[in-house]
Amino acid sequence: MGSLGEELRLDDKGTVVRLLPEHRVIMDLIADGARVMDLGCGEGDLLLALQVKKNVRAEGIELSEDCIQACVAKGLFNVHHGDLDEGLADYPDKSIDDVILTNTIQVLHRPLLLIKEMARVGKRCIVSFPNFAHWPVRWQLFRHGRMPKTGKLPHEWYETLNIHLTTIFDFREFCRKAGLHVLQEIPLRASGPGQRSEVRFFPNLRADSAIFVLEGGAKEGSRS
Protein backbone atom coordinates (compact mmCIF):
# COMPACT_ATOMS: atom_id res chain seq x y z
CA MET A 1 0.00 0.00 0.00
CA GLY A 2 1.67 3.20 -1.09
CA SER A 3 1.26 6.59 0.50
CA LEU A 4 -2.12 8.12 -0.25
CA GLY A 5 -4.04 10.87 1.46
CA GLU A 6 -3.27 14.33 2.59
CA GLU A 7 -0.04 15.66 3.97
CA LEU A 8 0.13 16.33 7.67
CA ARG A 9 3.00 18.28 9.12
CA LEU A 10 4.02 16.61 12.37
CA ASP A 11 6.53 18.98 13.86
CA ASP A 12 8.77 21.99 13.24
CA LYS A 13 11.55 19.86 11.87
CA GLY A 14 9.74 19.28 8.59
CA THR A 15 8.49 15.77 9.36
CA VAL A 16 5.53 15.16 7.09
CA VAL A 17 3.29 12.12 6.63
CA ARG A 18 0.38 11.32 4.34
CA LEU A 19 -2.82 10.33 6.14
CA LEU A 20 -6.22 9.24 4.90
CA PRO A 21 -9.28 10.75 6.64
CA GLU A 22 -9.97 7.41 8.33
CA HIS A 23 -6.45 7.54 9.83
CA ARG A 24 -7.28 10.86 11.43
CA VAL A 25 -10.44 9.37 12.93
CA ILE A 26 -8.37 6.48 14.29
CA MET A 27 -5.79 8.85 15.73
CA ASP A 28 -8.51 10.50 17.80
CA LEU A 29 -9.38 7.12 19.30
CA ILE A 30 -5.86 6.43 20.61
CA ALA A 31 -4.89 7.51 24.11
CA ASP A 32 -1.63 9.31 24.81
CA GLY A 33 1.27 7.03 25.51
CA ALA A 34 -0.54 3.87 24.42
CA ARG A 35 1.29 0.85 23.08
CA VAL A 36 0.05 0.56 19.50
CA MET A 37 0.57 -2.02 16.76
CA ASP A 38 -0.33 -1.37 13.14
CA LEU A 39 -0.82 -4.56 11.12
CA GLY A 40 0.04 -3.93 7.50
CA CYS A 41 1.61 -0.60 8.43
CA GLY A 42 2.60 0.34 4.88
CA GLU A 43 5.18 3.12 4.82
CA GLY A 44 4.61 3.92 8.47
CA ASP A 45 2.68 7.17 8.09
CA LEU A 46 0.04 6.38 10.70
CA LEU A 47 2.58 4.96 13.15
CA LEU A 48 4.83 7.99 12.87
CA ALA A 49 1.90 10.37 13.26
CA LEU A 50 0.81 8.52 16.40
CA GLN A 51 4.36 8.48 17.73
CA VAL A 52 4.80 12.21 17.30
CA LYS A 53 1.31 13.44 18.15
CA LYS A 54 0.24 10.93 20.78
CA ASN A 55 3.61 9.74 22.09
CA VAL A 56 2.67 6.11 21.51
CA ARG A 57 5.03 3.15 21.60
CA ALA A 58 4.65 2.17 17.97
CA GLU A 59 5.13 -1.24 16.36
CA GLY A 60 4.33 -2.43 12.86
CA ILE A 61 4.14 -5.58 10.79
CA GLU A 62 4.45 -5.33 7.02
CA LEU A 63 4.91 -7.77 4.14
CA SER A 64 6.57 -5.43 1.66
CA GLU A 65 10.33 -4.94 1.88
CA ASP A 66 10.05 -1.54 0.18
CA CYS A 67 7.55 -0.42 2.80
CA ILE A 68 9.87 -1.51 5.58
CA GLN A 69 12.65 0.52 3.96
CA ALA A 70 10.29 3.51 4.04
CA CYS A 71 9.48 2.90 7.71
CA VAL A 72 13.17 2.77 8.63
CA ALA A 73 13.71 5.97 6.65
CA LYS A 74 11.03 7.60 8.83
CA GLY A 75 12.88 6.58 11.97
CA LEU A 76 10.50 3.86 13.14
CA PHE A 77 12.41 1.34 15.27
CA ASN A 78 9.87 -1.42 15.67
CA VAL A 79 8.78 -2.71 12.30
CA HIS A 80 9.12 -6.20 11.12
CA HIS A 81 8.61 -8.21 8.02
CA GLY A 82 5.81 -10.67 8.55
CA ASP A 83 2.77 -12.35 7.05
CA LEU A 84 -0.45 -11.50 8.88
CA ASP A 85 -1.99 -14.76 7.76
CA GLU A 86 0.41 -16.48 10.15
CA GLY A 87 -1.05 -14.77 13.17
CA LEU A 88 0.76 -13.01 16.00
CA ALA A 89 2.38 -15.90 17.82
CA ASP A 90 5.26 -13.81 19.19
CA TYR A 91 3.01 -11.49 21.14
CA PRO A 92 1.86 -12.29 24.66
CA ASP A 93 -1.83 -11.92 25.57
CA LYS A 94 -3.08 -8.37 26.10
CA SER A 95 0.41 -6.95 25.58
CA ILE A 96 -0.71 -4.19 23.22
CA ASP A 97 -3.21 -1.44 24.01
CA ASP A 98 -4.51 -0.91 20.47
CA VAL A 99 -4.04 -3.29 17.55
CA ILE A 100 -4.91 -1.55 14.30
CA LEU A 101 -5.85 -3.15 10.99
CA THR A 102 -6.80 -0.59 8.36
CA ASN A 103 -8.25 -1.53 5.02
CA THR A 104 -6.46 -4.88 5.09
CA ILE A 105 -8.83 -7.52 6.43
CA GLN A 106 -10.33 -8.02 3.00
CA VAL A 107 -6.96 -9.03 1.44
CA LEU A 108 -6.11 -11.65 4.06
CA HIS A 109 -6.45 -15.36 3.46
CA ARG A 110 -7.38 -16.03 7.07
CA PRO A 111 -9.28 -13.06 8.49
CA LEU A 112 -10.89 -15.11 11.28
CA LEU A 113 -7.52 -16.32 12.53
CA LEU A 114 -6.11 -12.82 12.57
CA ILE A 115 -9.06 -11.14 14.25
CA LYS A 116 -8.93 -13.73 17.05
CA GLU A 117 -5.21 -13.18 17.40
CA MET A 118 -5.74 -9.43 17.50
CA ALA A 119 -8.29 -9.87 20.28
CA ARG A 120 -5.88 -12.07 22.19
CA VAL A 121 -2.92 -9.73 21.88
CA GLY A 122 -4.67 -6.37 22.10
CA LYS A 123 -6.78 -4.79 24.78
CA ARG A 124 -8.64 -3.09 21.93
CA CYS A 125 -8.77 -3.74 18.18
CA ILE A 126 -9.45 -1.07 15.60
CA VAL A 127 -10.44 -2.44 12.20
CA SER A 128 -11.43 -0.52 9.09
CA PHE A 129 -12.77 -2.01 5.87
CA PRO A 130 -14.72 -1.10 2.72
CA ASN A 131 -18.47 -1.82 2.96
CA PHE A 132 -19.60 -4.00 0.06
CA ALA A 133 -23.28 -3.19 0.76
CA HIS A 134 -22.70 0.51 0.01
CA TRP A 135 -25.55 1.53 -2.31
CA PRO A 136 -23.47 2.30 -5.48
CA VAL A 137 -22.03 -1.20 -5.22
CA ARG A 138 -25.52 -2.72 -4.93
CA TRP A 139 -26.73 -0.48 -7.75
CA GLN A 140 -24.02 -1.53 -10.19
CA LEU A 141 -24.65 -5.19 -9.57
CA PHE A 142 -28.44 -4.70 -9.76
CA ARG A 143 -28.60 -2.28 -12.70
CA HIS A 144 -25.75 -3.58 -14.87
CA GLY A 145 -25.20 -7.13 -13.57
CA ARG A 146 -21.48 -6.36 -13.45
CA MET A 147 -18.82 -6.66 -10.76
CA PRO A 148 -18.94 -3.27 -9.04
CA LYS A 149 -16.13 -0.70 -9.21
CA THR A 150 -16.23 2.31 -6.90
CA GLY A 151 -13.83 4.77 -5.34
CA LYS A 152 -13.18 2.38 -2.49
CA LEU A 153 -13.16 -0.68 -4.75
CA PRO A 154 -11.45 0.48 -7.94
CA HIS A 155 -9.75 -2.66 -9.22
CA GLU A 156 -10.79 -5.18 -11.85
CA TRP A 157 -12.21 -8.40 -10.43
CA TYR A 158 -9.30 -10.40 -11.84
CA GLU A 159 -6.60 -8.07 -10.47
CA THR A 160 -7.97 -7.07 -7.12
CA LEU A 161 -6.25 -8.18 -3.91
CA ASN A 162 -9.62 -8.04 -2.19
CA ILE A 163 -10.55 -11.65 -1.67
CA HIS A 164 -12.65 -11.35 1.48
CA LEU A 165 -14.94 -8.37 1.08
CA THR A 166 -17.63 -7.85 3.66
CA THR A 167 -20.54 -5.62 4.64
CA ILE A 168 -21.19 -3.84 7.92
CA PHE A 169 -23.92 -6.37 8.79
CA ASP A 170 -21.63 -9.30 7.96
CA PHE A 171 -18.79 -7.81 9.94
CA ARG A 172 -21.00 -7.48 13.05
CA GLU A 173 -21.79 -11.17 12.82
CA PHE A 174 -18.13 -11.99 12.13
CA CYS A 175 -17.16 -10.25 15.38
CA ARG A 176 -19.77 -12.24 17.32
CA LYS A 177 -18.47 -15.47 15.82
CA ALA A 178 -14.92 -14.55 16.71
CA GLY A 179 -15.86 -13.73 20.29
CA LEU A 180 -15.35 -9.99 20.02
CA HIS A 181 -17.49 -7.29 21.58
CA VAL A 182 -18.15 -4.14 19.50
CA LEU A 183 -17.31 -1.05 21.55
CA GLN A 184 -17.93 1.45 18.79
CA GLU A 185 -19.00 1.56 15.14
CA ILE A 186 -17.99 4.49 12.97
CA PRO A 187 -19.51 4.15 9.48
CA LEU A 188 -18.08 6.70 7.06
CA ARG A 189 -18.91 8.18 3.70
CA ALA A 190 -17.27 10.72 1.42
CA SER A 191 -18.57 14.23 2.05
CA GLY A 192 -16.29 16.39 -0.07
CA PRO A 193 -12.78 16.16 -1.54
CA GLY A 194 -10.62 14.29 0.98
CA GLN A 195 -13.40 14.58 3.56
CA ARG A 196 -15.20 11.82 5.36
CA SER A 197 -18.16 12.16 7.67
CA GLU A 198 -19.91 9.76 9.98
CA VAL A 199 -23.10 8.09 8.78
CA ARG A 200 -25.86 7.87 11.37
CA PHE A 201 -28.81 6.49 9.42
CA PHE A 202 -28.86 3.25 7.45
CA PRO A 203 -25.07 2.80 7.60
CA ASN A 204 -25.01 -0.53 5.78
CA LEU A 205 -26.56 1.25 2.78
CA ARG A 206 -24.99 4.68 2.98
CA ALA A 207 -21.44 4.15 4.32
CA ASP A 208 -18.65 3.22 1.91
CA SER A 209 -16.45 2.06 4.75
CA ALA A 210 -16.50 1.58 8.51
CA ILE A 211 -14.19 1.64 11.50
CA PHE A 212 -15.00 -0.83 14.27
CA VAL A 213 -13.53 -0.59 17.75
CA LEU A 214 -13.55 -4.04 19.32
CA GLU A 215 -12.46 -5.90 22.38
CA GLY A 216 -12.12 -9.60 23.05
CA GLY A 217 -14.00 -11.37 25.78
CA ALA A 218 -17.55 -11.98 24.51
CA LYS A 219 -18.30 -15.71 24.42
CA GLU A 220 -17.79 -17.14 20.95
CA GLY A 221 -21.03 -17.37 19.00
CA SER A 222 -23.08 -15.56 21.67
CA ARG A 223 -25.40 -12.68 20.92
CA SER A 224 -24.14 -9.51 22.62
Binding site: R35, R57, E65, I68, Q69, C71, V72, A73, G75, L76, F77, N78, V79, H80, H81, G82, D90, Y91, P92, S95
Partner: protein, 389 residues
Protein backbone atom coordinates in the same frame (compact mmCIF):
# COMPACT_ATOMS: atom_id res chain seq x y z
CA UNK B 1 43.77 7.22 -4.81
CA UNK B 2 41.41 9.30 -6.92
CA UNK B 3 38.23 7.57 -5.74
CA UNK B 4 36.39 10.04 -3.50
CA UNK B 5 34.27 7.24 -2.04
CA UNK B 6 37.28 5.32 -0.81
CA UNK B 7 38.89 5.70 2.58
CA UNK B 8 42.19 5.61 0.74
CA UNK B 9 45.40 4.23 2.22
CA UNK B 10 44.96 2.74 5.70
CA UNK B 11 47.51 1.44 8.14
CA UNK B 12 46.80 -1.66 10.19
CA UNK B 13 47.39 -1.04 13.90
CA UNK B 14 48.12 -3.46 16.70
CA UNK B 15 47.18 -3.64 20.37
CA UNK B 16 48.87 -6.08 22.70
CA UNK B 17 47.43 -6.92 26.11
CA UNK B 18 46.94 -9.79 28.57
CA UNK B 19 50.68 -9.97 29.14
CA UNK B 20 51.53 -12.51 31.85
CA UNK B 21 50.61 -12.56 34.71
CA UNK B 22 47.39 -10.84 33.47
CA UNK B 23 46.44 -13.41 30.89
CA UNK B 24 42.88 -13.50 29.59
CA UNK B 25 40.64 -16.32 30.80
CA UNK B 26 39.17 -18.21 27.85
CA UNK B 27 35.79 -19.96 28.04
CA UNK B 28 37.49 -23.34 27.74
CA UNK B 29 39.08 -22.66 31.13
CA UNK B 30 42.64 -21.82 30.05
CA UNK B 31 44.38 -18.55 30.80
CA UNK B 32 46.28 -17.25 27.78
CA UNK B 33 48.46 -14.29 26.91
CA UNK B 34 49.93 -12.12 25.53
CA UNK B 35 47.24 -11.31 23.00
CA UNK B 36 47.66 -9.03 20.02
CA UNK B 37 44.74 -7.69 18.05
CA UNK B 38 45.25 -6.26 14.58
CA UNK B 39 42.76 -3.51 13.79
CA UNK B 40 42.02 -0.69 11.39
CA UNK B 41 40.00 2.46 11.88
CA UNK B 42 38.40 4.74 9.34
CA UNK B 43 37.02 8.21 10.00
CA UNK B 44 37.38 10.32 13.15
CA UNK B 45 36.15 9.65 16.66
CA UNK B 46 33.90 12.53 17.73
CA UNK B 47 34.84 14.60 20.82
CA UNK B 48 31.85 13.06 22.62
CA UNK B 49 33.07 9.59 21.50
CA UNK B 50 29.52 8.72 20.45
CA UNK B 51 29.99 7.88 16.79
CA UNK B 52 31.98 4.64 16.95
CA UNK B 53 30.90 1.68 14.84
CA UNK B 54 32.48 -1.75 15.37
CA UNK B 55 32.53 -4.02 12.33
CA UNK B 56 32.68 -7.71 13.18
CA UNK B 57 34.03 -9.97 10.43
CA UNK B 58 33.03 -13.47 9.35
CA UNK B 59 35.06 -16.68 9.25
CA UNK B 60 37.57 -15.73 6.57
CA UNK B 61 37.52 -11.99 7.14
CA UNK B 62 40.12 -9.74 8.73
CA UNK B 63 40.79 -6.27 10.06
CA UNK B 64 41.20 -4.85 6.58
CA UNK B 65 37.58 -3.99 5.91
CA UNK B 66 38.06 -0.98 3.63
CA UNK B 67 40.57 0.99 1.63
CA UNK B 68 44.06 -0.12 0.68
CA UNK B 69 47.06 -0.99 2.81
CA UNK B 70 49.43 0.15 0.08
CA UNK B 71 49.11 1.88 -3.29
CA UNK B 72 49.63 -1.30 -5.33
CA UNK B 73 47.02 -3.41 -3.59
CA UNK B 74 44.68 -4.80 -6.21
CA UNK B 75 41.60 -5.33 -4.10
CA UNK B 76 40.34 -3.04 -1.36
CA UNK B 77 39.13 -4.27 2.05
CA UNK B 78 36.40 -6.92 2.17
CA UNK B 79 33.55 -4.48 2.90
CA UNK B 80 34.90 -1.48 1.03
CA UNK B 81 31.54 -1.31 -0.73
CA UNK B 82 29.93 -0.31 2.60
CA UNK B 83 32.64 1.69 4.36
CA UNK B 84 33.81 5.07 3.15
CA UNK B 85 32.76 8.67 2.51
CA UNK B 86 29.07 8.71 1.58
CA UNK B 87 28.66 4.95 2.00
CA UNK B 88 26.47 3.06 4.49
CA UNK B 89 29.15 3.44 7.20
CA UNK B 90 29.93 7.00 6.25
CA UNK B 91 33.44 7.78 7.40
CA UNK B 92 32.68 11.50 7.27
CA UNK B 93 30.25 11.00 10.16
CA UNK B 94 31.31 7.84 11.94
CA UNK B 95 34.45 6.31 13.41
CA UNK B 96 34.57 2.80 12.00
CA UNK B 97 36.65 0.07 13.65
CA UNK B 98 37.41 -3.44 12.47
CA UNK B 99 39.66 -5.91 14.25
CA UNK B 100 40.87 -9.38 13.35
CA UNK B 101 39.42 -11.94 15.77
CA UNK B 102 41.67 -13.87 18.12
CA UNK B 103 42.39 -17.26 16.62
CA UNK B 104 42.68 -15.58 13.23
CA UNK B 105 45.75 -15.47 11.03
CA UNK B 106 45.72 -11.89 9.83
CA UNK B 107 47.73 -10.12 12.47
CA UNK B 108 45.86 -11.11 15.62
CA UNK B 109 47.17 -13.86 17.86
CA UNK B 110 46.28 -17.29 16.58
CA UNK B 111 47.77 -20.72 16.01
CA UNK B 112 50.20 -19.27 13.46
CA UNK B 113 51.59 -16.74 16.00
CA UNK B 114 54.92 -17.32 17.69
CA UNK B 115 54.72 -18.47 21.31
CA UNK B 116 57.21 -16.18 23.09
CA UNK B 117 58.07 -18.96 25.51
CA UNK B 118 59.06 -21.50 22.87
CA UNK B 119 59.95 -19.32 19.92
CA UNK B 120 57.79 -21.53 17.72
CA UNK B 121 54.19 -21.13 16.50
CA UNK B 122 51.46 -22.15 18.96
CA UNK B 123 49.82 -24.48 16.41
CA UNK B 124 47.41 -26.66 18.41
CA UNK B 125 48.76 -25.38 21.73
CA UNK B 126 46.58 -22.37 21.06
CA UNK B 127 43.48 -22.54 23.29
CA UNK B 128 40.06 -23.35 21.82
CA UNK B 129 38.34 -20.08 21.02
CA UNK B 130 34.67 -19.17 21.35
CA UNK B 131 32.69 -16.20 20.07
CA UNK B 132 32.56 -15.00 23.69
CA UNK B 133 36.36 -15.00 23.79
CA UNK B 134 36.52 -13.01 20.55
CA UNK B 135 34.14 -10.41 21.98
CA UNK B 136 35.97 -10.24 25.32
CA UNK B 137 39.19 -9.44 23.47
CA UNK B 138 37.50 -6.81 21.32
CA UNK B 139 36.12 -5.18 24.45
CA UNK B 140 39.70 -4.59 25.58
CA UNK B 141 40.36 -2.83 22.27
CA UNK B 142 37.26 -0.64 22.64
CA UNK B 143 38.32 0.25 26.20
CA UNK B 144 41.76 1.11 24.88
CA UNK B 145 40.24 3.46 22.29
CA UNK B 146 38.46 5.25 25.13
CA UNK B 147 34.96 4.42 23.91
CA UNK B 148 32.35 3.90 26.65
CA UNK B 149 29.51 3.09 24.34
CA UNK B 150 29.59 1.99 20.72
CA UNK B 151 27.01 3.64 18.53
CA UNK B 152 26.73 0.40 16.63
CA UNK B 153 28.00 -3.17 16.40
CA UNK B 154 27.44 -4.74 12.99
CA UNK B 155 28.42 -7.94 11.23
CA UNK B 156 27.31 -10.71 8.92
CA UNK B 157 27.45 -14.48 9.40
CA UNK B 158 29.91 -15.17 12.22
CA UNK B 159 30.19 -11.39 12.53
CA UNK B 160 26.48 -11.37 13.35
CA UNK B 161 27.10 -13.95 16.08
CA UNK B 162 29.63 -11.55 17.58
CA UNK B 163 27.08 -8.71 17.42
CA UNK B 164 24.61 -10.81 19.40
CA UNK B 165 27.28 -11.80 21.90
CA UNK B 166 28.20 -8.12 22.35
CA UNK B 167 24.67 -7.01 23.19
CA UNK B 168 24.20 -9.87 25.62
CA UNK B 169 27.60 -9.73 27.33
CA UNK B 170 28.00 -5.93 27.37
CA UNK B 171 24.46 -4.55 27.16
CA UNK B 172 25.31 -1.00 28.23
CA UNK B 173 28.07 -0.68 25.66
CA UNK B 174 26.13 -0.99 22.41
CA UNK B 175 23.36 1.37 21.29
CA UNK B 176 22.48 -0.14 17.93
CA UNK B 177 22.93 -3.73 16.80
CA UNK B 178 22.87 -4.89 13.19
CA UNK B 179 23.13 -8.69 12.97
CA UNK B 180 23.01 -9.72 9.31
CA UNK B 181 22.46 -13.20 7.85
CA UNK B 182 23.15 -14.82 11.18
CA UNK B 183 21.77 -16.99 13.95
CA UNK B 184 21.74 -17.36 17.71
CA UNK B 185 23.03 -20.89 17.19
CA UNK B 186 24.26 -22.80 14.18
CA UNK B 187 21.96 -25.52 12.88
CA UNK B 188 22.96 -29.18 12.65
CA UNK B 189 23.32 -28.66 8.91
CA UNK B 190 25.72 -25.77 9.46
CA UNK B 191 27.79 -27.81 11.90
CA UNK B 192 27.82 -30.67 9.40
CA UNK B 193 29.31 -28.53 6.65
CA UNK B 194 31.94 -27.14 9.01
CA UNK B 195 32.84 -30.68 10.01
CA UNK B 196 33.35 -31.73 6.38
CA UNK B 197 35.69 -28.78 5.94
CA UNK B 198 37.62 -29.72 9.06
CA UNK B 199 37.88 -33.37 8.05
CA UNK B 200 39.33 -32.30 4.72
CA UNK B 201 42.13 -30.49 6.56
CA UNK B 202 42.66 -33.20 9.17
CA UNK B 203 42.99 -35.87 6.50
CA UNK B 204 45.54 -33.91 4.46
CA UNK B 205 48.87 -35.80 4.80
CA UNK B 206 50.67 -32.48 5.31
CA UNK B 207 48.57 -31.45 8.29
CA UNK B 208 50.78 -33.29 10.78
CA UNK B 209 48.58 -32.63 13.84
CA UNK B 210 48.79 -28.93 13.10
CA UNK B 211 52.59 -28.86 13.26
CA UNK B 212 53.20 -27.91 9.65
CA UNK B 213 54.72 -24.44 9.96
CA UNK B 214 57.96 -24.15 8.07
CA UNK B 215 57.03 -27.29 6.13
CA UNK B 216 54.59 -27.95 3.26
CA UNK B 217 51.17 -26.74 4.39
CA UNK B 218 47.98 -28.85 4.05
CA UNK B 219 47.00 -27.10 0.80
CA UNK B 220 44.61 -29.71 -0.55
CA UNK B 221 42.72 -30.00 2.71
CA UNK B 222 42.24 -26.27 3.15
CA UNK B 223 41.33 -25.82 -0.51
CA UNK B 224 38.63 -28.49 -0.24
CA UNK B 225 37.31 -26.93 2.97
CA UNK B 226 37.01 -23.65 1.13
CA UNK B 227 35.28 -25.29 -1.85
CA UNK B 228 32.63 -26.76 0.44
CA UNK B 229 32.23 -23.48 2.27
CA UNK B 230 31.91 -21.62 -0.97
CA UNK B 231 29.00 -23.76 -2.12
CA UNK B 232 27.16 -23.00 1.11
CA UNK B 233 27.55 -19.26 0.54
CA UNK B 234 25.81 -19.37 -2.83
CA UNK B 235 22.29 -20.38 -3.76
CA UNK B 236 21.23 -23.07 -6.21
CA UNK B 237 19.75 -20.41 -8.42
CA UNK B 238 22.81 -18.17 -8.39
CA UNK B 239 25.05 -21.10 -9.27
CA UNK B 240 22.76 -22.02 -12.10
CA UNK B 241 22.72 -18.46 -13.43
CA UNK B 242 26.47 -18.13 -13.13
CA UNK B 243 27.63 -21.50 -14.45
CA UNK B 244 24.79 -23.70 -15.58
CA UNK B 245 26.35 -26.71 -17.23
CA UNK B 246 28.85 -24.67 -19.24
CA UNK B 247 32.17 -26.28 -20.00
CA UNK B 248 35.48 -24.61 -19.18
CA UNK B 249 37.56 -23.82 -22.30
CA UNK B 250 36.36 -26.84 -24.22
CA UNK B 251 33.55 -27.95 -26.47
CA UNK B 252 33.19 -31.59 -25.35
CA UNK B 253 33.55 -33.73 -22.27
CA UNK B 254 37.13 -34.84 -21.63
CA UNK B 255 36.18 -38.18 -20.07
CA UNK B 256 38.74 -37.81 -17.29
CA UNK B 257 38.88 -36.25 -13.83
CA UNK B 258 40.23 -32.89 -14.86
CA UNK B 259 37.90 -29.93 -14.61
CA UNK B 260 35.31 -30.17 -17.41
CA UNK B 261 32.71 -27.75 -16.12
CA UNK B 262 33.10 -24.04 -15.38
CA UNK B 263 31.79 -24.54 -11.88
CA UNK B 264 34.53 -27.11 -11.21
CA UNK B 265 37.19 -24.70 -12.43
CA UNK B 266 35.74 -21.92 -10.39
CA UNK B 267 35.72 -23.93 -7.17
CA UNK B 268 39.27 -25.16 -7.72
CA UNK B 269 40.42 -21.59 -8.35
CA UNK B 270 38.64 -20.29 -5.23
CA UNK B 271 40.07 -23.10 -3.14
CA UNK B 272 43.65 -22.65 -4.32
CA UNK B 273 43.45 -18.88 -3.99
CA UNK B 274 42.23 -19.20 -0.41
CA UNK B 275 45.21 -21.29 0.63
CA UNK B 276 47.51 -18.38 -0.20
CA UNK B 277 45.81 -16.09 2.28
CA UNK B 278 44.53 -18.27 5.11
CA UNK B 279 45.92 -20.67 7.68
CA UNK B 280 44.51 -24.20 7.96
CA UNK B 281 44.71 -24.30 11.78
CA UNK B 282 42.85 -21.00 12.00
CA UNK B 283 40.12 -22.51 9.86
CA UNK B 284 39.78 -25.36 12.35
CA UNK B 285 39.61 -23.06 15.37
CA UNK B 286 37.22 -20.52 13.89
CA UNK B 287 34.79 -23.02 12.35
CA UNK B 288 34.67 -24.79 15.71
CA UNK B 289 33.89 -21.50 17.44
CA UNK B 290 30.92 -21.12 15.10
CA UNK B 291 29.72 -24.61 15.99
CA UNK B 292 30.02 -23.92 19.72
CA UNK B 293 28.09 -20.67 19.53
CA UNK B 294 24.71 -21.03 21.25
CA UNK B 295 23.60 -17.76 22.74
CA UNK B 296 20.63 -19.15 24.65
CA UNK B 297 22.40 -22.11 26.20
CA UNK B 298 23.81 -20.51 29.42
CA UNK B 299 20.44 -18.83 30.06
CA UNK B 300 17.96 -21.54 29.13
CA UNK B 301 16.23 -19.57 26.42
CA UNK B 302 16.98 -16.80 23.97
CA UNK B 303 14.40 -14.63 25.71
CA UNK B 304 16.27 -14.97 29.00
CA UNK B 305 19.56 -14.28 27.24
CA UNK B 306 18.08 -11.02 25.95
CA UNK B 307 16.55 -10.01 29.29
CA UNK B 308 19.04 -7.15 29.88
CA UNK B 309 19.60 -6.14 26.29
CA UNK B 310 19.45 -2.38 25.77
CA UNK B 311 20.34 -1.99 22.11
CA UNK B 312 17.91 -1.33 19.30
CA UNK B 313 18.16 -3.99 16.59
CA UNK B 314 18.13 -4.01 12.84
CA UNK B 315 17.95 -7.70 11.95
CA UNK B 316 18.43 -8.60 8.30
CA UNK B 317 18.18 -11.94 6.54
CA UNK B 318 18.30 -12.97 2.89
CA UNK B 319 15.60 -14.98 1.17
CA UNK B 320 17.93 -17.42 -0.62
CA UNK B 321 20.37 -17.89 2.28
CA UNK B 322 20.02 -21.55 3.15
CA UNK B 323 23.04 -21.66 5.45
CA UNK B 324 21.60 -19.08 7.85
CA UNK B 325 17.95 -19.20 6.83
CA UNK B 326 15.44 -16.47 7.66
CA UNK B 327 13.69 -18.45 10.38
CA UNK B 328 16.84 -18.09 12.49
CA UNK B 329 16.67 -14.30 12.21
CA UNK B 330 12.97 -14.43 13.05
CA UNK B 331 13.83 -16.28 16.26
CA UNK B 332 16.14 -13.41 17.22
CA UNK B 333 13.39 -10.87 16.49
CA UNK B 334 10.89 -12.95 18.40
CA UNK B 335 13.11 -12.89 21.49
CA UNK B 336 13.49 -9.11 21.11
CA UNK B 337 9.71 -8.76 21.00
CA UNK B 338 9.22 -10.83 24.11
CA UNK B 339 11.59 -8.71 26.15
CA UNK B 340 10.39 -5.42 24.71
CA UNK B 341 13.59 -4.64 22.83
CA UNK B 342 13.04 -2.47 19.75
CA UNK B 343 13.72 -4.47 16.62
CA UNK B 344 13.37 -3.92 12.93
CA UNK B 345 13.39 -7.05 10.85
CA UNK B 346 13.49 -7.32 7.10
CA UNK B 347 14.12 -10.18 4.70
CA UNK B 348 15.84 -8.95 1.58
CA UNK B 349 14.73 -10.73 -1.59
CA UNK B 350 17.85 -11.88 -3.39
CA UNK B 351 19.21 -14.78 -5.44
CA UNK B 352 22.74 -14.39 -4.05
CA UNK B 353 22.36 -16.69 -1.06
CA UNK B 354 24.40 -16.19 2.10
CA UNK B 355 26.99 -14.13 0.23
CA UNK B 356 24.35 -11.44 -0.27
CA UNK B 357 25.63 -9.67 2.84
CA UNK B 358 28.72 -8.80 0.81
CA UNK B 359 26.85 -8.12 -2.43
CA UNK B 360 23.40 -6.57 -1.88
CA UNK B 361 24.90 -3.24 -1.00
CA UNK B 362 22.12 -1.01 -2.33
CA UNK B 363 19.37 -2.44 -0.09
CA UNK B 364 21.70 -2.73 2.87
CA UNK B 365 23.01 0.79 2.42
CA UNK B 366 19.51 2.31 2.44
CA UNK B 367 18.47 0.44 5.56
CA UNK B 368 21.67 1.03 7.46
CA UNK B 369 22.08 4.70 6.55
CA UNK B 370 18.59 5.50 7.85
CA UNK B 371 18.88 3.26 10.91
CA UNK B 372 22.18 4.82 11.97
CA UNK B 373 21.00 8.38 11.34
CA UNK B 374 17.82 7.98 13.39
CA UNK B 375 19.57 5.87 16.01
CA UNK B 376 22.23 8.47 16.53
CA UNK B 377 19.79 11.37 16.86
CA UNK B 378 17.72 9.59 19.52
CA UNK B 379 18.69 10.50 23.06
CA UNK B 380 20.66 7.58 24.50
CA UNK B 381 19.00 5.69 27.31
CA UNK B 382 20.90 5.77 30.58
CA UNK B 383 21.02 2.16 31.62
CA UNK B 384 17.25 1.70 31.73
CA UNK B 385 15.94 -1.40 30.02
CA UNK B 386 12.98 -0.95 27.63
CA UNK B 387 9.85 -1.52 29.67
CA UNK B 388 6.66 -3.16 28.68
CA UNK B 389 5.55 -6.72 28.59
Amino acid sequence: MDDTTSVGIVKTQYLTFAEPPNEMLFECGRRFGPITLAYETYGELSPAKDNAILILHALSGDAHAAGFNHPHERQPGWWDIMIGPGKAFDTRKYFVICSNIIGGCKGSTGPISINPQTGRPYALDFPMVTVQDMVNAQRVLIDHLGIDQLLCAVGGSMGGMQVLQWVVSYPERVRLAIPIATTSRLSAQGIAFNEVGRQAILSDPHWKEGDYYGKPVPRRGLAIARMVGHITYLSEKSMHLKFGRKLQDKAEYGYNFRADFQVESYLRYKGDHFVDRFDANSYLYISKAMDYFDLAQPYGSLERAFANVQAKFLVISFSSDWLFPSYQSKEIVSACRRVGAAAIYTEIQTDYGHDAFLLESEQLTRLITNFLAHGMSEAPRNGAVAAGK
